[in-house]
Structure formats: structure tokens, C-alpha cells
């Protein structure tokens, strides 16, 4: 039995939620049938979130404050990565201060990419961070729009402190096309649900499950948790029944998250790990042009795992939105008139971005060795004593406690989620800077409010298709 496996997990679900009833209500003039799907809420990305930012947040949760120094590899799986030719995982690596000697790779092209890439990472056998992050987008008034969601799950992999080890696996590959999205297309094209259910899930998943059970040398009665994502309702229960599974079917996270594409099976795995006990086995299935089945056995070490936000914490951390058009705008489903201020160029000077990466990527302040002042940004000389920067010690601010010193709600600036909340953030360690404040609920924001840092898109350069990232801040208390 391998002594390599999952050593920690983390999750992130965007705070923004919309009740499905609001989506159905907006479309009832032409698609009254959507009302039947109008149960619960789904998560959605704010204008400044994407698969990369969610991946960073999930990774931070999985690392739980520990250093990324020992990582040898980082894997990122998604069907909605922002770049077709730019290593998305390298952006995540920069944000979490991963060492430069790390291997990085992106996986995608199928909603099975999450489980397939996790299998690869587990085969790799070296200390790694595996992240699946996805925000599939449905066309307005489609079943996908109302049922899809967004989220990310991350796992640290290693040989020490293994909380779950892979004891069985199998993959089935079959050119079954339930849906597809061509390169460059915004929305997918999906075939009839009944056929997908009967010929797809009902046949391909059990084949992979049987093979994985055989690989593990156990029967289905040896499995405690069954996790299989699907945007189709009740499919997981039907497959569980067909393989005579009698344990606990892991929640499909329909309420509060929605179907999160390539990340979904991994969110379910993370959710199962929140409650699984040592010795229990978790069966995870990924579906897409076949299926992967992975069987994990939970170890004693899980009882000693430090507490984290996880899936439950992420789902509970919600800010409700009452506007369908706001949701639609963030999904780039509507092109509203933002006014001439929005014409400002969002071009990023890649040279400057690279020069300043040491402080902007992982949000590092500098601490002056001469006077101990912690300062951001780091200019050539200390803000207090003018000592040169070369002796600054790098102090990460991403996890440093902070609060609001001053703030305002700016209705004048072009901002895709008006108003733009911004103000001075005072860190407990003495650092201070003016920052954007995001995911602010209807109560607004007040002086003294406790904040945490979040990794977001600072600038979306739509003309050139480039996202520039930076850190923002958000109230710890949601909504």
C-alpha cells in the first residue's frame, strides 16, 4: 500500500449567490418551464473572479497557513481557465509563493479533467498541490445557466501526514458526447438529458466503478461515501442504486454552489473528507467521455488535521444578490453601457508586472531592518528612515489580520460591480495601504470592520484578453 496520498484539503466557493427563483423569474416570459428548476441558490463569480482566483483561494485553504516551500509540483484542472496559451498554474504558484523550482501544469478540456489530473498527480508521487477550479457558464435561460455554479477544491499531496490514500482506481474512455464546447465558443451545446442519463452515466460510471472496486480488492459494501457530480438531477442516486451502494451519497451541492464542472467531483471529495472517519472509504467518480473512479481510504491522520474553511465553510459564507442582470453582467451575458470612463485602456505593461512581481504576486510588504517599519509598496528607500530596500525582509500580507481605517463607496469611477468600495486597510503588523473592498453586502462597510485578503482580477483588459491580478480585501463577516 502506498504511503503517498492526500495530506490536506481546502475549498472555495464564490461568496456571491443568486436564488434560482430570481433566474427563473427573469426568463419566465419565454421559458416558463425553468420554474421547475428554481430551487435553492447557486454560486457565481464576481466580475473579478475566475478559475485562477478561485484556485488561489482554495489553495490557501488547503495550505492552511503553512508554507508552499516544500512543493515540487502544482496541478490546475479546469474547463474555464482564462488562458489558452499561458500557464495558468504559474499564476497560482506566484500568488501562493511557491518555490521557483516547482513543476506546474494545467489540465482541462473535459469536466472529467479534475479526477483525471488528480490521478496523474497521485501517480507523480512528489509533494504537490492539486487544484480543480471551474466556473462553467450557461447560456441565458438554459438549464445550464440555472443549474451550474462555481467553485474550487485543492489538495496537498505528500508522503507525510497522509489523511486519505488512493486504494483503487479505474478509468473508462468512450467518445460519448453528452455536450461539447468548441475552442473559442462561449457556451456549450448539450444533447437530450434522458439519453445522457441512460446511455452515459448509467452505463459508463458503473463500468469504471466496478473496475476500481476490483482494483481495490473490495466490494461496494466496503465504501462509505459515494461522490459523483452531475448537472442532471438524481443521477448520482440512480447510479448508486444501480451499483447497489448502501452508504452515504455525498451531496451534489446543488444548493449554495451549483454544478462546478471539472471542480465538482473534487468539491464533493473535500466535503466527504470533512466528516469521514479513519478507515472509511470514499468513492469519487468523474464523468466526461468516459469516467474515472477513485477510491480513497481515510487514515487516522485526519483526526489531527487543523480546522479549515472547507466546503461547508465556503457554502455558509454567502452574500446574496437579488439582481439577475447583475449576475448576467458578471457572466458577460449582457453588454451594458458603462459610459466613456470605461474606455480607459486596461493594458498591462508586462515588463513592469515582472519587475514588481516580488511584491505584487504574493502581496509582500517589506520590513526595514533598520527601523522595523513594515511597508507596502516597497520603494527604493524606507518610508520612515530612508534606509535602502535591499535590506528589507519580505513580509506576506495575505494572511495578516487587518481592519478598515477609512472607506467610501465610489459611484463615479467605472467599476463593473458598482459602487467601488475602497479605503485604507490597516494591518495589525503596522502595514497600511489603500485597497479595493469586494463582496460588500447591503450593509456597506464601516471603520474598524475586520477584513481578510482575497486574490482577484485587478484589471480585465478586454481589448487584449489579458487579466491582471492583485489582492483585494473583503469583510470577514459576509453580507
Amino acid at each position: 500500500m502506498s504511503d503517498f496520498g492526500i495530506t490536506g484539503y481546502g475549498a472555495y466557493v464564490p461568496r456571491l449567490r443568486i436564488e434560482r427563483g430570481i433566474i427563473a423569474e427573469a426568463h419566465k416570459w419565454m421559458a416558463p418551464g425553468l420554474k421547475g428548476q428554481a430551487k435553492g441558490s447557486r454560486a457565481f463569480c464576481s466580475w473579478d473572479e475566475d478559475a485562477v482566483t478561485m484556485a488561489v483561494e482554495a489553495a490557501r485553504d488547503a495550505l492552511a497557513g503553512s508554507s508552499a516551500d516544500a512543493l515540487k509540483a502544482i496541478y490546475l484542472a479546469s474547463t474555464t481557465l482564462p488562458y489558452a496559451d499561458l500557464l495558468n498554474a504559474s499564476i497560482v504558484a506566484g500568488a501562493i509563493s511557491a518555490p521557483t523550482g516547482i513543476a506546474a501544469s494545467d489540465a482541462g478540456y473535459s469536466q472529467r479533467a479534475g479526477t483525471s489530473a488528480l490521478l496523474q498527480a497521485l501517480k507523480g508521487g512528489e509533494a504537490a498541490l492539486f487544484i480543480a477550479s471551474d466556473a462553467p457558464v450557461g447560456k441565458p435561460a438554459s438549464v445550464q445557466e440555472i443549474s451550474y455554479g462555481a467553485g474550487a477544491a485543492a489538495f496537498t499531496l505528500g508522503a507525510e501526514g497522509v489523511i486519505a490514500r488512493l486504494v483503487g482506481k479505474a478509468s473508462v474512455t468512450d467518445s460519448f458526447v453528452d455536450h461539447f464546447r468548441a475552442t473559442g465558443q462561449k457556451y456549450e451545446y448539450a444533447w437530450e438529458e434522458r439519453w445522457v442519463r441512460d446511455e452515459g452515466y448509467a452505463k459508463l460510471a458503473p463500468a469504471a466503478i466496478s473496475a476500481a472496486l476490483a482494483d481495490a480488492g473490495i466490494g461496494i459494501d466496503g465504501v462509505a461515501y459515494f461522490a459523483m457530480p452531475s448537472q442532471l438531477r438524481a443521477v448520482a442516486d440512480a447510479v448508486a442504486k444501480s451499483v447497489k451502494f448502501g452508504g452515504s451519497v455525498v451531496s451534489g451541492l446543488e444548493n449554495g454552489v451549483g454544478y462546478a464542472g471539472a471542480a465538482h467531483a473534487l468539491l464533493q471529495l473535500a466535503l466527504a473528507l470533512e466528516t469521514a472517519k479513519p478507515g472509511e472509504k470514499i468513492l469519487v467518480v468523474g464523468f466526461g467521455q468516459g469516467a474515472d473512479a477513485l477510491i480513497f481510504e481515510v487514515t487516522e491522520a485526519i483526526t489531527a488535521l487543523p480546522k479549515r474553511r472547507g466546503v461547508s465553510g465556503s457554502v455558509a459564507d454567502a452574500v446574496a444578490t437579488d439582481s439577475y442582470l447583475r449576475f448576467l453582467s458578471f457572466a458577460e451575458g449582457i453588454d451594458v453601457e458603462w459610459g466613456m470612463r470605461a474606455e480607459r485602456s486596461g493594458k498591462t505593461q508586462l515588463t513592469e508586472q515582472y519587475r514588481s512581481a516580488f511584491q505584487l504576486e504574493a502581496f509582500n510588504a517589506g520590513q526595514c531592518a533598520a527601523c522595523n517599519t513594515i511597508q507596502f509598496p516597497q520603494f527604493q528607500f524606507c518610508v520612515k528612515c530612508q534606509a535602502p530596500r535591499k535590506q528589507f525582509r519580505q513580509v506576506p500580507l495575505a494572511d495578516e489580520p487587518a481592519q478598515v481605517l477609512t472607506s467610501t463607496a465610489d459611484w463615479l469611477s467605472y467599476y463593473p460591480a458598482p459602487p467601488l468600495y475602497c479605503g485604507f486597510v490597516q494591518f495589525d503588523n503596522g502595514a497600511r495601504l489603500l485597497m479595493e473592498m469586494v463582496d460588500v453586502g447591503p450593509k456597506g462597510i464601516e471603520r474598524g470592520e475586520k477584513l481578510r485578503m482575497v486574490y482577484r482580477i485587478k484589471e480585465r483588459d478586454r481589448a487584449r484578453g489579458y487579466n491582471r491580478y492583485f489582492w483585494k480585501t473583503t469583510p470577514i463577516a459576509a453580507g
Binding site: 505593461q349 509598496p377 520612515k384 477609512t406 475602497c422 485604507f424 471603520r447
Partner: protein, 398 residues
């Protein structure tokens, strides 16, 4: 040992264009308008100008780089002509260049002209700022009112003032300026506005509503300066001289250290202390007759009264509500209506403020003339309260 420039420079003449939405005029026409008035006021010919400084801030919507557009517009051939830019202190910076040239003895007569054409943008308000390739990567892309609105939280917290009380005091700031603007024929806005309208205007950047913000206008203002001796030789009887010209610029302490509490503008305090010293003013509350300060936003003006040591710390709210800075008060502020009524064509504003002080000191301010003022102060605040530029000039009778 530096002795400052007190009384080394006299104003020979000044001019100011009509401010407003000047659909009829570009920067060149605006400059010509203020220049012709100043030239006539000075009683000199174009060729007597030895050197010139142009203040102009926004390249993208204005005349472009260098002083060439100004030398061309004014047909000032072959003299040293320098363009300066220091955000909202640009106009004062141009005056500083011209005054220093005269004070140094390098030239006899120098011109300072500021102009800004803001209404060629196609929308209201200022264009989004470019903060530099590095700063744009991390600073929020916030508007000017969002920057100044930060003062409200800091000020309220320090002095324990409720949101409602502060809103009322800053509304009085704007109300007073609109009252004054009625008597300013060159102002953009010349109508009184009720407290109710000001208090209930749409929010721009909390707590600043529409009427807490200065207007956006086109305009130009101009000064011709020389030595007091030359001014007298040219026949000037009553002289307005420069008593002080000071500038203070942030090094980032307010934004990157944890000592500033958000309730005041350190730059204004620095520049004011130095300007009072240069001018020999020891009790500003008693000695200063009037001020024209940077009321880009109402909260700025309120805080500025403390930063200029005219109100005691924490007393500006009460002083405003008591009318200390009204036209009939002890130290009238924005007797011409201020940025509130003139708008803020950036390169011109500092010189427009000096123009009003100059008129008041010479008793030429018409319906808004104050009784026997002797010392006037102008104040500009560029950038944002926590990362900016304060420019102060003190002008007085010689």
C-alpha cells in the same frame, strides 16, 4: 541663509477668462482671453515679457505636452517658456516659477498662465487618472471624490462627529460658496443653492453628494509679475506683492505608515507653516483677511481650515455652522464662489484664486468686494489628501 521671496515680487497685472462649459473655446482661446486682460492690466506690451510659465495638467484632453501650444497661442516668440504640471497645484506652480525668476533677478518681467480644457471629454467629471505603470497595478482605480471622501471617516472618528452632523457642516461649505458665486460674473455657476438641495443630492462617493463636489469647467487665468521697483517705475501706485509661495509634497508616509489618522492633510500643514514663516505671519486667524482654498470637495475645505490653522483642530464643523467663513464672517473663504462655482480647470485654478485675492486687495471685486482686506491666502491640493501636493500663496498689499 535663504530669505524667502516676501515682497521681492509684485503683481503687475492679472487676467481671468470666463469659466464654464466653454464650447466656444479651446485652451488656446481661453489662454488668449486671460492673457489679453492681464496684458492690459499690466500696461505693457507682449515683447516686454522676458520669460513665461505655463500650467497645464491633463495632456490627453488638453493641448498636449510642452509650452509650445501656449507660445503659439499667445505668439510669444523666442523667450524661455516652460510648461509645469503638479496636478491640482499646477496653476500655483506656474506662478511660483515666474515669481522665482523675478525674485532671483534672472528676469524683469515674467508671465504665469494656466489653462485647462476639461469639457472636451464627452462626459461630466474628470477623466480616470493614470497613476503610473506601477501604481496602476495595485492602487484601486478610484475617482477623485473617493480619495477625498476618506477624510470624512478619519475626521469623524477622531472628533466623534456623527455622519449627520458632518454632512450638515460640509453642506454649509457648499451652500456658502454658492451664495458667494451669485456675485461672480466669471464663475461657471452663479446661482444660490438651498441647503435642502445640497443635502439631498445624489451620492457620488459617500458621504459626498453631487453638491459636495466642485464643478468641471474650462478656464484660464494669468499673472504678470515683476519687481516692486519696476512696477512703480511702470506707474503702479498700489501694489500687491507676493508674501510667500510654498509647496509640500508627500513621500508616502500617510499611506504606508500607521501614524496618520485620516483626519487632516499633513501637506497643507507643512506648506502653511512654511508660508506663514516666509510671510512673517504669526497669528493667521487675526492677520489673514480672506482665503481661496482648494474646495474640490466640501470635506476638503472643511479640513483645510484646520490645516491652515484658521480653525482649531476639531472646531471646523462648528466654525462653519457659525458662519466664520461666510462672506460676512471673520475670514471669508471662497468669496468668489471657489472651485464650487468656478469649477476646476486644473492648470488655471491656482491662478484664478490669486486673481480673486488680487482684485480684493485692490478693491476691484465689485459686488463681492470685502471691506479693506490686506492679506489673502490661496491654497491648492493636488492628488489625494494622503498622497498629494499642497501649494500655498500669500499675497498682500505692499
Amino acid at each position: 541663509m535663504a530669505t524667502g521671496i516676501k515682497d521681492k515680487v509684485a503683481i503687475l497685472g492679472m487676467g481671468c477668462s470666463k469659466f464654464g462649459e466653454r464650447w466656444d473655446a479651446g485652451s488656446q482661446e481661453l489662454m488668449a482671453e486671460s492673457f489679453e486682460e492681464a496684458l492690459a492690466d499690466a500696461g505693457i506690451e507682449r515683447k516686454q515679457i522676458d520669460a513665461a510659465w505655463l500650467g497645464s495638467c491633463m495632456d490627453a484632453v488638453n493641448i498636449g505636452n510642452s509650452a509650445i501650444p501656449a507660445s503659439t497661442a499667445l505668439r510669444l516668440n523666442g523667450i524661455p517658456f516652460t510648461r509645469v504640471e503638479n496636478m491640482c497645484a499646477t496653476g500655483t506652480e506656474a506662478l511660483r516659477g515666474a515669481a522665482y525668476a523675478v525674485a532671483s533677478g534672472a528676469v524683469d518681467i515674467a508671465l504665469a498662465i494656466g489653462a485647462e480644457k476639461l469639457k472636451d471629454t464627452g462626459y461630466g467629471g474628470l477623466p480616470p487618472p493614470f497613476k503610473g505603470t506601477f501604481n496602476d497595478m495595485w492602487m484601486p482605480m478610484a475617482s477623485a471624490p473617493a480619495g477625498f471622501a476618506q477624510l470624512a471617516d478619519g475626521y469623524r472618528a477622531r472628533y466623534g462627529i456623527s455622519k449627520e452632523e458632518l454632512k450638515r457642516a460640509i453642506a454649509h461649505v457648499s451652500w456658502k460658496s454658492h451664495q458667494n458665486g451669485v456675485h461672480s460674473p466669471k464663475a461657471h455657476f452663479q446661482k444660490a443653492v438651498s441647503m435642502e438641495t445640497i443635502m439631498n443630492a445624489p451620492m457620488i462617493s459617500d458621504p459626498l453628494g453631487l453638491f459636495d463636489c466642485s464643478g468641471v469647467s474650462d478656464g484660464s487665468a494669468c499673472a504678470i509679475v515683476t519687481t516692486p521697483e519696476i512696477a512703480r517705475a511702470l506707474g503702479k501706485k498700489e501694489l500687491v506683492t507676493v508674501k510667500a509661495l510654498q509647496l509640500s509634497i508627500s513621500s508616502g508616509q500617510e499611506t504606508a505608515m500607521n501614524t496618520w489618522d485620516g483626519s487632516y492633510v499633513p501637506n497643507t500643514r507643512n506648506a502653511a507653516a512654511r508660508a506663514y514663516k516666509e510671510a512673517g505671519i504669526s497669528t493667521p486667524r487675526e492677520q489673514i483677511s480672506l482665503t481661496e482654498v482648494h474646495d474640490c470637495f466640501s470635506i476638503t475645505e472643511l479640513v483645510t481650515m484646520e490645516d491652515l490653522f484658521l480653525s482649531e483642530d476639531g472646531h471646523a464643523v462648528r466654525d462653519y455652522l457659525d458662519g466664520v467663513y461666510d462672506a460676512t464672517g471673520k475670514i471669508p473663504c471662497q468669496i468668489d464662489g471657489g472651485l464650487k462655482c468656478f469649477g476646476h480647470p486644473i492648470g488655471a485654478s491656482g491662478l484664478r484664486m490669486a486673481y480673486e485675492v488680487y482684485l480684493q486687495l485692490l478693491g476691484r471685486a465689485g459686488a463681492r468686494q470685502l471691506k479693506a482686506p490686506s492679506i489673502g491666502l490661496t491654497h491648492n491640493l493636488g492628488g489625494v489628501p494622503y498622497l498629494g501636493i499642497a501649494g500655498i500663496s500669500i499675497l498682500g498689499l505692499h
